[in-house]
C-alpha cells in the first residue's frame, strides 16, 4: 500500500536489471506493448483495466499486456531502460530520473492533482494542512519529501514533530493525536473500513502539486513511435471515461487480482479519487491532459529544492496532442 | 537464592584421618556386573593400594568410596576415632587425583590449585596463600603463573596433586594418577606422594596397575580378580625404609612376587 515499501525494495530490482542498456529505438513498434503498473491493481489503474476489458486497446490495433506491479518493482527504470514500453510513474520521478540519465516522456496523467495527502483523525482540531503545520502535532512521513520542505517554507513548522513513517497504519489507528502521510484513495479508506474516521488534506496545499499516475515511456521509444503513443493515449482516455462513469465492474476484476483490497473498498476509493482525475484542464483538453505550465512549475520547484539541477524543456518530458517530442 | 551463593567456608570439621569400611558392596551397569559383594576395610591413616587387571571394577569401587556412585547392595561407611561419620561430612574431607590432570585450561597453576578453596568460599587472601604453599610443596614455584598447555605431563600432575592437597584432605582417593607418565617421572611422583603421606598422614586409597608402585606406596595391598571385582588377596606391606635403594631390595621384590602371582592366578582362573 504505502510508497515506503515500494521504494524499500527497489534496490533489489535495480541490480537485477542485467544487460543494462537503453532501448534500441530503431525497432518497429512491437505487436505486444507492455504496460508496467507501479503497484498492485487498484482504483489508481481503474481506467487502464477498463480500457483493456472493453477492448479499447484492440480497437486501436494494439495488443497491450498489463503487468502488475508491487513492492520491488522499479517501474520508472523499467520504462527508461526499455524493458517495458510504458510504465505508470510519478510526475516528480520523471524529472528526477531525467536528472540521473533516465529519459522518460509522459503521455497521460491520471491524476491532475497529486493524491499524496496527510490524514488526521476526524476528532482532531485541524481543518487544513496550514493549521496542522503551525501546531506542535506529530506527523509521520517519509524522509526528505519535497512537499514537506515546501510546507516548512510556507508555514514554518518550527514546533511540528516529524517522525518516521513506520510502514503501517497501526500506530496511526491507535493514536488519535498522530497525523500521517497517505494516499487519499488508500489508507483513509482502509481505516474507514476498520471504523476509524479521518480527515484528509491533500499535499497540494503546500504548492507542490506534480502530476501523478503518469503513463510514461522512454524518450527513445516516444521519438520512434509517436503514433503508438497517441493510440495508447486515446485508448486510455476512453477507458478512464468508462471507469469514471461506472467503476464497479472493473473494481470487481481488480479485486479478484488484489487480495489486499476488497471490491467495497475499491468502490469507495474510486469515488474519493474522482475529483483528482477531473479538472478544468481535462474538461478543456481531455482526460489525462498535461500542460507545459504545470510541468515547468514542478520543475522549477524541484530545482529550487535542489532535487534537480537543470530544467528540461517541457517537450522533453511530456507529450500531449499530435506534436512529436524534440 | 541459595543456589547462587557459594557454600559457607568450612573450617576443617575433621582433623584426623578417618577409616572407610565397604560392607559387601555390589554394582552393575546394565548387564555388566562390575563389583560383586566386596568387603573392604581401610584403616585411618593407612595407605591402601587396589591392584587388578584393566576393567576389573576397581575404579567403580573407588567411585563408590568417593560417594560418586551408589552401591546397589551393601553400603560404605566412614568412621573416625569416635565412631561413624555422616557421609556428607566425610565427603567434604576427600580429595581426588585422576589419571588426567583435569586442569582448567584457561587458568594458570595458581588459579587451578585454589579452585577447591574457591568453590568452598574461602576468601581470596587465605586461598592464595594456601595455594602457594601447596605449589611450593610440589616444587612448582617457578611455574605458578604458567598455564596447563605450557607445562609438561609431569608438572601438570604435580599441579593436580597440589590442588588435591590444598584442602588439607583427610582422605585421598587416587585413580591411576601416574599411569600416563614415563617411568622416571612416575617414580619421582611416587616419592613425592609418599612424602606427602608421611607428612600429612591422610588416609589414602590408590587404584593402580603397577605392582611396584603399590608396594612402594601402600601399607596394605589388595589384589582383585578380573570383572566382577572380587578380593583375591590382601597383604600388609611393611618396608624397612623408603630410600633410593628400597625398590631393588629383596623384601621389596618378595612383596612384588606375591602380589604378581596372586594377580596372575586370578587372571588365569577367570579365563578357565
Amino acid at each position: 500500500m504505502s510508497r515506503i515499501l515500494r521504494i524499500a525494495f527497489t534496490i533489489m530490482a535495480c541490480w537485477v536489471l542485467a544487460g543494462c542498456r537503453d532501448a534500441s529505438p530503431s525497432e518497429p513498434a512491437p505487436s505486444t506493448i507492455r504496460l508496467q503498473l507501479n503497484w498492485v491493481p487498484e482504483p489508481e489503474f481503474g481506467g487502464i483495466y477498463a480500457a483493456d476489458a472493453a477492448g479499447f486497446f484492440r480497437d486501436e490495433g494494439l495488443q497491450v499486456e498489463i503487468i502488475k506491479g508491487g513492492p520491488g518493482v522499479a517501474a520508472p527504470q523499467l520504462a527508461a531502460s526499455g524493458r517495458v514500453e510504458f510504465a505508470v510513474v510519478g510526475g516528480e520521478q520523471i524529472l528526477t530520473l531525467g536528472e540521473a540519465g533516465g529519459e522518460l516522456v509522459g503521455i497521460y496523467a491520471i491524476y491532475q492533482d497529486d493524491p499524496m495527502a496527510v490524514m488526521v483523525h476526524a476528532t482532531s482540531p485541524f481543518a487544513s494542512l496550514e493549521e496542522l503545520w503551525k501546531s506542535d502535532a506529530t506527523v509521520a512521513c517519509e524522509a526528505n519529501l519535497s512537499w514537506v520542505t515546501m510546507l516548512n517554507e510556507k508555514f514554518g513548522g518550527a514546533s511540528l514533530k516529524i517522525v518516521p513513517h513506520g510502514g503501517s497504519i497501526a500506530l496511526f489507528a491507535a493514536d488519535s493525536n498522530l497525523a500521517q502521510q497517505c494516499f487519499v484513495f488508500a489508507e483513509p479508506v482502509a481505516l474507514e473500513m476498520q471504523g476509524v474516521a479521518t480527515k484528509v488534506f491533500l499535499v497540494k496545499e503546500s504548492g507542490f502539486n506534480p502530476y501523478n499516475g503518469v503513463i510514461a515511456t522512454s524518450a527513445a521509444y516516444a521519438k520512434a513511435n509517436p503514433e503508438t503513443c497517441a493510440k495508447v493515449r486515446r485508448a486510455l482516455q476512453r477507458g478512464w471515461e468508462r471507469y469514471l462513469k461506472d467503476p464497479a465492474p472493473t473494481n470487481a476484476v481488480m479485486a479478484a487480482m488484489n487480495p489486499a483490497m476488497t471490491k467495497e473498498a475499491m468502490d469507495i476509493a474510486a469515488k474519493r479519487q474522482q475529483p483528482l482525475i477531473e479538472s478544468p484542464d481535462t474538461e478543456r483538453l481531455g482526460l489525462g491532459a498535461m500542460t507545459a505550465e504545470r510541468w515547468s512549475n514542478t520543475a522549477q520547484q524541484l530545482q529550487r529544492l535542489g532535487k534537480i539541477t537543470t530544467l528540461p524543456a517541457p517537450e522533453e518530458i511530456f507529450l500531449w496532442g499530435t506534436s512529436a517530442p524534440r | 537464592m541459595l543456589c547462587c551463593m557459594p557454600p559457607v567456608a568450612r573450617a576443617e570439621t575433621i582433623l584426623q584421618p578417618f577409616a572407610i569400611v565397604a560392607h559387601g558392596v555390589s554394582r552393575r551397569f546394565g548387564d555388566v556386573e562390575a563389583v560383586r559383594d566386596v568387603a573392604l576395610q581401610v584403616d585411618a591413616g593407612s595407605f591402601v593400594a587396589l591392584i587388578g587387571p584393566s576393567g576389573c571394577g576397581k575404579t567403580t569401587l573407588l567411585r563408590m568410596l568417593a560417594g560418586v556412585d551408589q552401591p546397589e547392595s551393601g553400603r560404605v561407611e566412614y568412621l573416625d576415632a569416635r565412631g561413624p561419620i555422616a557421609a556428607a561430612v566425610a565427603l567434604r574431607g576427600i580429595s581426588f587425583c585422576f589419571q588426567e590432570p583435569r586442569l582448567l585450561p584457561w587458568r594458570d597453576v595458581v588459579g587451578n590449585v585454589e579452585l577447591p578453596l574457591e568453590l568452598d568460599g574461602v576468601p581470596i587472601g587465605e586461598r592464595r596463600e594456601r595455594a602457594m604453599a601447596a605449589i611450593r610443596r610440589m616444587g612448582l614455584d617457578d611455574a605458578a603463573t604458567r598455564r596447563p598447555h605450557q607445562l609438561s605431563g609431569g608438572m601438570r600432575m604435580r599441579a593436580a596433586m597440589a590442588r588435591a592437597i590444598v584442602t588439607r584432605p583427610r582422605l585421598m582417593l587416587l585413580d591411576e594418577p601416574f599411569g600416563a607418565l614415563d617411568d622416571v617421572t612416575r617414580q619421582e611422583l611416587d616419592d613425592e606422594l609418599h612424602q606427602l603421606w608421611v607428612e600429612d598422614r591422610f588416609t589414602a586409597v590408590l587404584v593402580t596397575h603397577s605392582i611396584t608402585e603399590a608396594v612402594f606406596l601402600s601399607t596394605r595391598a589388595v589384589v582383585f580378580s578380573p570383572r566382577p571385582a572380587r578380593i583375591l588377596l590382601e597383604r600388609t606391606i611393611e618396608l624397612a625404609a623408603h630410600d633410593a635403594a628400597v625398590r631393588v631390595s629383596d623384601e621389596f621384590n618378595a612383596y612384588v612376587r606375591v602380589l604378581s602371582l596372586a594377580l596372575q592366578r586370578g587372571i588365569r582362573e577367570s579365563r578357565a
Binding site: I4, I7, A8, T10, I11, C14, W15, L17, C20, R21, D22, P76, Q77, A80, S81, Q93, T96, L97, E99, A100, G101, G102, A140, E142, A143, N144, I162, V163, P164, H165, G166, G167, S168, A170, L171, A174, K307 | C3, C4, M5, P6, P7, A66, V68, L91, R92, I94, F96, F98, E100, R102, L104, P105, W106, L115, P116, E118, L119, D120, H149
Partner: protein, 254 residues
C-alpha cells in the same frame, strides 16, 4: 608485522581489479548512471557529501554497536538459560529459530508498533537479527564443556551458578565469540533495515534513510556510497570482535 601486511595484498589487488573492471564495463557499455554508476561517480558522491555521510555513518554505527552488544549479552544469557534443562531447550529453541526465520522487513514495522520510532527501534531491529547465532553458539559451547572437568566440579560440590560461571562460560568462550563474529555482520543489516522504517530524516539521517531517499531520487551513486559505508561499519565491528576472539582464543583455548 611485515608478513601480516603482505597477506592483505591479494584481496586488495582483487578489489582494485574488480573496481577497474566495473569502471571500464560501465563506460564501454554506456550504462546509464541511474542503473549502475561507475565507481568514480560513487567516489565523487562519497567525497562531495563527506561531512553529512560521516555523521550518517556514525549514527548507523552507534545503533549497530548498541544492537550488537544487546544481542551478545542477551544471547549469552538466553543460551545459558536454555542450557540448564533439555526440556527447556527443546521447548524454546524452535521459537528462537522461528524468530530468526521471519524476514526482518516483516518484523521491522511490528517493532515500530511496539517500540515507537527512532533509534530504539533501530537498535531493537539490529539486536533481533543478531541474537540468534549468539544463542545457538553459546548453547553448543556450554554443552561441549569437558565432562572430566564437569565431574571435577561435581566432586567439589559446586553450585549451579559456580558451574556456569567458572566452568561453563569459560569453556564456551571460543564458541560464543564465533557466534559474536556472525552477529556483528547481522547487526549492521538489522540496523539499516530498522532505519528504513524507523529512521529519522533530516540533516544527519542515518545510512538507512540516506539509502531510501537516494533510491527515491534515483541517485544510485549515493545509494552505493551509503551501502559501502554500511558495509564498512559491518567490517569494523567484525574486525573488533575478531580481534577480541583471537585474544580470547589464546587465553581460553585448551
Amino acid at each position: 608485522m611485515k608478513h601480516r601486511s603482505l597477506a592483505l595484498l591479494p584481496p586488495l589487488i582483487a578489489i582494485a581489479a574488480a573496481l577497474l573492471l566495473w569502471e571500464i564495463a560501465v563506460r564501454a557499455l554506456n550504462v546509464p548512471a541511474y542503473l549502475l554508476p561507475p565507481p568514480s561517480r560513487v567516489a565523487v558522491a562519497l567525497w562531495d557529501d563527506r561531512a553529512a555521510l560521516a555523521m550518517s555513518t556514525m549514527r548507523t554505527a552507534s545503533a549497530t554497536l548498541a544492537g550488537f552488544l544487546i544481542a551478545a549479552v542477551l544471547g549469552i544469557v538466553i543460551g545459558s538459560l536454555l542450557s540448564t534443562s533439555r526440556r527447556l531447550e527443546r521447548g524454546l529453541y524452535p521459537l528462537t529459530l522461528l524468530f530468526q526465520m521471519v524476514p526482518l522487513v516483516a518484523i521491522a514495522p511490528l517493532l515500530v508498533i511496539w517500540l515507537g520510532n527512532g533509534i530504539r527501534t533501530v537498535i531493537a531491529s539490529s539486536a533481533v537479527v543478531a541474537i540468534f547465532p549468539v544463542i545457538a553458539n553459546t548453547l553448543s559451547g556450554l554443552r561441549s564443556a569437558d565432562p572430566h572437568l564437569d565431574e571435577l566440579f561435581t566432586l567439589h560440590h559446586a553450585t549451579r551458578w559456580q558451574r556456569w560461571f567458572k566452568l561453563g562460560l569459560p569453556s564456551a568462550v571460543p564458541s560464543m565469540l564465533t557466534g559474536c563474529r556472525i552477529a556483528a555482520g547481522l547487526a549492521t543489516i538489522g540496523a539499516v533495515v530498522g532505519e528504513f522504517v524507523a529512521g529519522f530524516g533530516g540533516a544527519s539521517a542515518p545510512l538507512g534513510i540516506v539509502i531510501m531517499t537516494s533510491l527515491r531520487e534515483f541517485r544510485t551513486e549515493k545509494v552505493f556510497a551509503a551501502v559501502a559505508l554500511a558495509s564498512l561499519v559491518g567490517f569494523a565491528l567484525f574486525g573488533i570482535v575478531n580481534g577480541a576472539a583471537h585474544v580470547a582464543a589464546r587465553r581460553y583455548a585448551a
